[in-house]
């Protein structure tokens, strides 16, 4: 498998669940910040699902 979700960042706890590590944020700024931090650690890309959830995907 060449693509994999490494982490999920969300504000609303009801929108997320499942196997990948989940990081909760209080607001939009914190959400972007933790997504950026995680993506730089893994060298991965951040994608926005347009519902307040960001996923970090290794391509």
């Amino acid at each position: 498998m060449d693509k994999q979700i490494l982490a999920v960042c969300a504000m609303d706890k009801t929108k997320v669940g499942g196997g990948a590590p989940i990081f909760y944020a209080a607001d939009q700024d914190e959400l972007s910040e933790i997504a950026m931090m995680i993506s730089r650690v893994f060298g991965a890309a951040v994608h926005d699902l347009h519902n307040g959830v960001l996923i970090i995907v290794k391509h």
Partner: protein, 300 residues
Amino acid sequence: MKYLFTLIIAILGGFLARLYMLRRDYRQYPSYPQGWAIHLFLGFIGGSIGAIIVPALLEGEYSAVSFLLLAASQFREVRNVERQTLSAMESTEMVKRGTAYIEGIARVFEARNYLAIWVALSVAVTSELLVGLGWWRTAVCGVVGVLLTVVLVRLMQGDKISDIATVELTDFRFEGALVVVGETVMMNVGLPDARKVYEERGLAAIIRPNGPNAKATLANLGQMQAIAHDVSSMIGVYMDVGEQEFIPMVRRNPSVGSLHVLMVASEKDEVAFLEAIRRVPVLEGAIRKPLTSAAGKLVD
């Protein structure tokens, strides 16, 4: 040593032909000086094979000719070595060349050795035909060698993107996190900071194929990757290791067959960006000609 003159001038012809075919351009491949040393020596071997075949034939040494032809088949190994080298270096490239491009380069390097053999063979034949001409023999051999080299190199030159398509600058916009060029979604950029970088420094172009043949050629994934790689190596790319959102994107618009290129260049120079795309070579392995088939003509 009655064939000494023929041997020397033919080997020299093959060697110089290989030297002429080595280019030092933006790709820096083969690398200088080690890569050059390897290919010049192979050119010397190729020239020797082409040169010795003629005296061997004249002397009726047919077993020698067979061995020489066997030696020529060893040049197939050149392609394997080039492929392995480039594949091994692929992980060090910010933007990958892609397997199709690597195959194309490997094929070119193999073919150039055969061209060196052809040049040496022709010079040797000319030299033996003109044995009684004295110094004129040298001049005619030189002319034959140069002419053949130029003609062969010209024939081997492939097309560039500008030969099969028109390239124009175009706009891109963000729909939420999606970068959109025309009606084609290029990628999902999740970070607001990255979107800002795109808005400030991003460049987008549209490559419109000139006909059904060009459309089929541009649809090749290897060709698309080659465009991304070559444009990045020519004008530079604005990214660090691991910043995947800034990898140059080439996407296809399925309704018209055009390609959209989106990248963040290290310098935002629109003219250089377009020129770089126009100069990307069309990969030999990507070329398709649907118009030569009956069904393809019906579709057109």
